[in-house]
Symmetry: C2
Subunit: 514 residues, 2 copies
């Protein structure tokens, strides 16, 4: 058995569910070995940022680690932006990056670059695979990806991949998430109890599970504490029977106002709230009174257990399930973010998965969520746009029996538009909605916030993408995806409803009247 086959087998034995690949010459031993390791499905991508984003989506939905197969430093570099997002999503990913054979590296051949340095900077762990410990190093990569909750990178020189190796497969052994100490739970419970409706719970990460949300509902019922969640969540279940958690607002001044009323702010599975960007003369730390903040569990801790223990300490009972919902009226007339949101809210089927990178257009969906069918939503976690389509692709590989809906801005979609081809190749059930407002709209908003005026023409040339208008119907068809354009609310409703009622890939360009 050669090194490449041993690595693929070790990934499969240790529960890695799929490999998203864009190999080259230095990975040829892996290309050959795939035929002997059918238990690890390999999915081809046309660009490495699709591979890393898909691995992220796969991990978020399957709960299993995913892997990538990448070609030297530049291949890893192309994957990095979505690895950054995956690290912020705390998705366990093992990157297998082929490198030049050991003796070849010193010769500075054209494809040589500082792979070890960039791998270390953009992964939670990285290692050059030893020819003498191939399976042990691979199992360790799985351990580190799961334990540190992010991308672990194993660099595999060509000679390690092609050399014959002993076929003994090692096992990974990740430690479980850190448990929160009982006295911290007790102290937090006292604060929540005494603050009453001036208590705010901010939930995130693994606290956002069915059990976690049930516990949170119980706490709210007994103590009148308010519930909320992070601005961005890797995977947020939304169910009529669970409490609706408002998000901490994105913009700093709105977030500060959101936190201001509370005497006790308990963080469970979230980092200390800071603004996304800094602005001249404005604070980056969001809660106006830091002394109100109780940092109970970080996102890598066992936040779900901490939340359940907090509920127990407050002597809560399972909260009554609210199932009353209101019908959502169909939008009519102009197609806007608001009328499009109505259609999505009306027709999204139960158990669907939403990959949301809709930026400014997506906020219209928020007030409708309590009346939508139960579903899960995956947000853009690291702020590097170009995650939405790849994450949807990986989620659809992880859950071939569920409908995946990708909501994307037009600007964001163009970073990794190649994901559509992999959706077609794998016959995935992904429906993509492109909110086409012909602009990086969020940047115009930010311009106005920072400079106090709407951008003048010369600056708009860097913020608007209307010349030429992108034709997403043509782009989708060019990659094997059926597609239609909607110019009215009625047409969008019709297209979206039809796409929800059949299996199969589809793209709708929502040509917004802005």
């Amino acid at each position: 058995m050669n090194g490449a086959e041993l690595i693929l087998k070790t990934l499969a034995v240790n529960g890695v569910g799929a490999c998203f690949a864009n190999p080259g010459t230095s990975e040829m031993a892996f290309v050959d070995a795939t035929s002997r390791v059918p238990e690890l499905p390999i999915v081809l991508t046309l660009f490495e940022g699709v591979a890393s984003g898909a691995a992220d989506g796969y991990a978020r939905i399957s709960g299993k680690p995913a892997s990538t197969l990448l070609h030297l430093g530049p291949g890893y570099a192309n994957a990095m932006a979505n690895l950054h997002n995956a690290r912020r999503a705390r998705s366990p990913i093992v990157n297998i990056v082929g490198d030049h054979a050991t003796a070849h590296l010193a010769l500075n051949a054209p494809l040589t670059s500082k792979l070890s340095e960039i791998a270390d900077a953009y992964s939670v762990w990285s290692l050059n695979c030893s020819p003498h410990r191939i399976s042990a190093n691979t199992a360790l990569a799985v351990t580190e990806a799961v334990e540190r909750q992010g991308p672990a990178t194993l660099i595999v020189p060509g000679d390690v991949a092609w050399a014959e190796s002993a076929p003994t497969v090692s096992r990974s052994n990740p430690r479980p998430r850190r448990k929160i100490a009982e006295d911290a739970i007790t102290a937090a419970a006292r604060k929540v109890h005494s603050a009453g409706k001036q208590a705010l719970l901010v939930l995130g990460s693994n606290a956002l599970s069915a059990k976690g949300l049930a516990a949170a509902a119980g706490i709210a019922q007994v103590t009148n504490a308010q519930l909320s969640c992070s601005t961005f969540n890797a995977c947020m279940p939304r169910d009529r029977g669970r409490p609706f958690l408002p998000k901490v607002p994105y913009f700093a001044e709105q977030a500060a106002a959101f936190f201001a009323p509370y005497e006790s702010i308990v963080l469970i599975g979230v980092d200390y709230p800071v603004s996304f960007f800094a602005y001249p003369g404005k604070p980056s730390l969001l809660p106006p009174r830091p002394e109100a903040v109780i940092d109970l569990a970080s996102p890598t801790d066992d936040a779900e257990a901490a939340l359940i223990a907090l509920a127990a300490a407050l002597d809560t009972k399972p909260a009554a399930q609210s199932t009353a919902i209101e019908a959502i009226a169909r939008g009519t007339g102009s197609l806007t973010a608001e009328t499009a949101a109505r259609s999505i809210a009306r027709h999204l089927p139960e158990n669907a998965i939403v990959s949301d990178e809709s930026a400014t257009s997506g906020t219209a969906l928020v007030p409708l969520i309590p009346n939508m069918a139960p579903h899960e939503t995956m947000d853009l976690m690291g702020g590097s746009i170009g995650q939405g389509l790849p994450v949807a692709t990986g989620a659809a590989v992880a859950a071939r029996d569920r409908k995946v809906v990708c909501l994307s801005g037009d600007g964001g979609a163009m970073y990794t538009i190649q994901a559509l081809w992999t959706q077609a190749r794998e016959n995935l059930d992904v429906v993509t909605v492109i909110y086409a407002n012909r602009a990086y709209r969020i940047l115009s908003v930010e311009y106005q916030r920072i400079l106090g005026q709407a951008p003048p023409a010369h600056s708009r040339a860097l913020l608007e993408i209307d010349r030429p208008a992108l034709d997403f119907v043509a782009l989708a068809r060019g990659m094997g995806i059926d597609s239609e354009r909607a110019d009215t609310a009625e047409r969008f409703d019709e297209l979206f409803a039809a796409a929800m009622n059949r299996r199969g890939r589809f793209l709708i360009e929502a040509n917004l009247a802005t």
Copy 2:
């Protein structure tokens, strides 16, 4: 004047010719400042790999440094693969990378990553811009990019960009290329003289100029030395009046055979020849007898001057210009790499610029080059595919009065296909030919070389991109580029000839009968 405006002004004053941008919130002060620095043209791209590749193409053709404007670590990460190629092309580029404001960095906001580490690993120089030396640091970045011949990266925290600064603009001061000592020239001249037709000159980098090639022709005439050039060249002038230089072959065993006959191999503007990849049991160092190699001038040295001095030491006269050319017959019947090459060779206009990332399909053009109109060709320098379309885009910005032709494989085109949109937006005169063989054909060749057999079905699934077939006509139209498909040699000839005879962007999908 704020920091952002001062940086843009400093770039312009120091001869930086254009800025290829994909900005975000942290670069908003730059977006605002562009209106006050019209002397630095800003070109918007939809993906950062297009920006870095276009900067490379601009620098190669204009002879001036280019710049990019990128958004934090992930924006730089997306640019890295083509920065790797630009470094191998020795193109001077100044990357301006916005970063979080200084005080914000420590808070680990979602877009925070190890930017300094990746900037240093993939640039020839990098620096965090000091708020007290904004123009001096920017001028230094230009100096370093020119002197070290590659991408220099200046990281600009938000607060440095938006703060008021003294408007004094600093000057860059790069040292000229290193001159080769006279005794080294004399020694090389003696070797070339005594070896006669067993001498081989291998030219690359700045030795491939009009003057350099004239000197080489003179040397060949007087000494019977053979002439050749690197396998990949940043910018290779091809002129009926200059000698045709065969390239060092790509595959290691062919390159070894190429070097074998020579007693003296003089490297002028090229690194020591090594194979692109390593292969089991094969040597990576290509010349079979290392003692035959004379390393006269490296690619960063003043190789052109060394070549001219060598010619003088050998007492050459200007070589007679050969102008006899043969007409190239039109191909007929099936559209293949060979018949397509005939059309390109027949119709490419004088003074055209070719961006060549045609991989396996491009070799068919080589034997026709001596009979083509004078033109310049830019090769893929770092081996990271996805350079061709962006480099063509930047070259067309640099030379708006010249025809640019991009020859690309279908696999390679999909890495940075977003370049087409910038070509449309800027109304550039680029004609793109996509050699659609529905495969990463080079990888099938490599598979066969390494594993000794054609790839089986399961491995072919990672090497072929035929399911679904990409429709490049649709993709091009989706980004505002007129496009047609050619299925026969006659149709390709007609489309290519027409595209050469009018100004304006166009894409031809050459649907190869493989």
